[in-house]
């Protein structure tokens, strides 16, 4: 096939995917650079950065993993830490539009690259109708931002001065996505339950805050949904 005829078709979905992930990239690249710097500072060869970031592809866990690896922590500790820190991902399958992705390899990759950011960007109702190519292009580009940031940090970290505070982009991104989700949901009770769960988990178990907060929130949400279903006259359930 002539490549010129395939490019316009390709670029629509891929360009949309790049536009979707650009704000994420603004947060992921500086964070990846920070990770790469830590890897070489730990005394590991630079190529461990793309190996870890490429294969594990889970930002917060990778920082923890690196510190455990340097300390030569038992493999059982590494397994348990991974299990606890990344357990929150089990909730993401409820809304991630995997049904849009055909083909074994594509579905395998889509599951592998189901990060917080990939989940967050596909929570909108419109995302349920995204093409397979757009979904996979979003995930591949975020994978690329993360690995490229890591390589830059590992190779140039000691040479190039870094600007403090760039990592705020990730906070900003999640604030933006939360505002979007609140706008489409208009679910005040749900929002209050979420903040309550987060604050409670932060006070009770700061080390396992994310997992505890998300489990608590999902349990409370299921309970409140049941209660609403039992008393439908009080307030109609939005589905």
């Amino acid at each position: 096939m002539d490549w010129r005829t395939s490019i316009p078709r390709l670029s629509g979905d891929v360009r949309a995917a790049l536009a979707d992930t650009l704000p994420v990239g603004a947060g992921m690249v500086p964070l990846g650079v920070a990770f790469g710097i830590l890897v070489t500072q730990a005394g590991l060869a630079w190529w461990w950065t793309p190996v870890i970031s490429g294969l594990v592809f889970a930002g917060s866990l990778e920082f923890l993993l690196l510190s455990l690896m340097i300390a030569a922590a038992p493999l059982a500790t590494i397994a348990l830490t991974t299990l606890l820190v990344n357990s929150r991902h089990v909730f993401y399958c409820l809304t991630f539009p995997l049904q849009q992705v055909p083909g074994r390899f594509g579905r395998l990759y889509a599951r592998f690259a189901l990060t917080d950011e990939a989940y967050a960007l596909t929570t909108t109702p419109a995302a349920q109708g995204f093409s397979s190519r757009r979904i996979l292009a979003m995930q591949v580009s975020m994978h690329g931002y993360w690995v490229a940031g890591g390589i830059i940090g590992a190779l140039l970290g000691s040479v190039v001065p870094t600007l403090a505070g760039l990592d705020f982009a990730l906070v900003g991104l999640f604030v933006v996505l939360a505002v979007d989700a609140c706008r489409s949901g208009r679910d005040l009770a749900g929002g209050l339950l979420a903040v309550l769960s987060a604050v409670t988990a932060g006070l009770v178990a700061p080390g396992e805050m994310l997992l505890l907060a998300m489990s608590l929130f999902v349990a409370l949400l299921a309970l409140s949904t049941r209660l609403r279903a039992a008393a439908p006259r009080l307030r109609p359930v939005r589905a």
Binding site: L22, P23, A26, A42, W48, L55, V56, F57, E62, L65, M69, I70, A72, L75, I78, A79, T82, N86, R88, H89, V90, Y92, C93, L94, T95, R111, F112, Y119, A120, L163, A164, G165, F168, A169, V171, G172, L173, V175, V176, L177, A178, V179, D180, A181, D187, G190, A194, V195, A198, G202, M209, A213, F217, L221, A222, T225, A229, V237, R238, A239
Partner: protein
């Protein structure tokens, strides 16, 4: 530095468990997707999970020095307000980050 065999095993474990946590729930959830409770949960969960992630990322803020904590709060409020107003993700994130970087490298020091 630990030997290469240990490092490879550590990365393989972390990668394998992370993949399993992301992939296996689909097999469990797929049959449940049709249930009314799952539908309501799927509609109500994203906003809450994102709010939890935001609180998690900001968890160290109260312990920071007042100027640094103020910079974080102002930047977060700016991003949220700007995004409610213009609904342009890139504009909101870049503006908030620029404000935070400037504050961190000048005022806070």
């Amino acid at each position: 530095m630990p030997d290469a065999g240990y490092l490879i095993a550590a990365v393989a474990l972390a990668a394998g468990i992370t993949f399993a946590l992301r992939a296996l729930p689909f097999a469990v959830i797929e049959p449940l997707r049709a249930s009314p409770l799952a539908a309501v949960l799927a509609a109500r969960m994203p906003a809450g999970l994102l709010l939890i992630l935001v609180v998690y990322l900001l968890r160290d803020t109260p312990a920071k020095a007042p100027p640094a904590a103020a910079a974080t709060v102002v930047a977060v409020v700016l991003v949220a307000a700007l995004h409610r107003w213009r609904a342009n993700a890139l504009l909101s994130v870049v503006s908030g980050t620029a404000l935070y970087v400037v504050a961190t490298n000048t005022v806070v020091h």
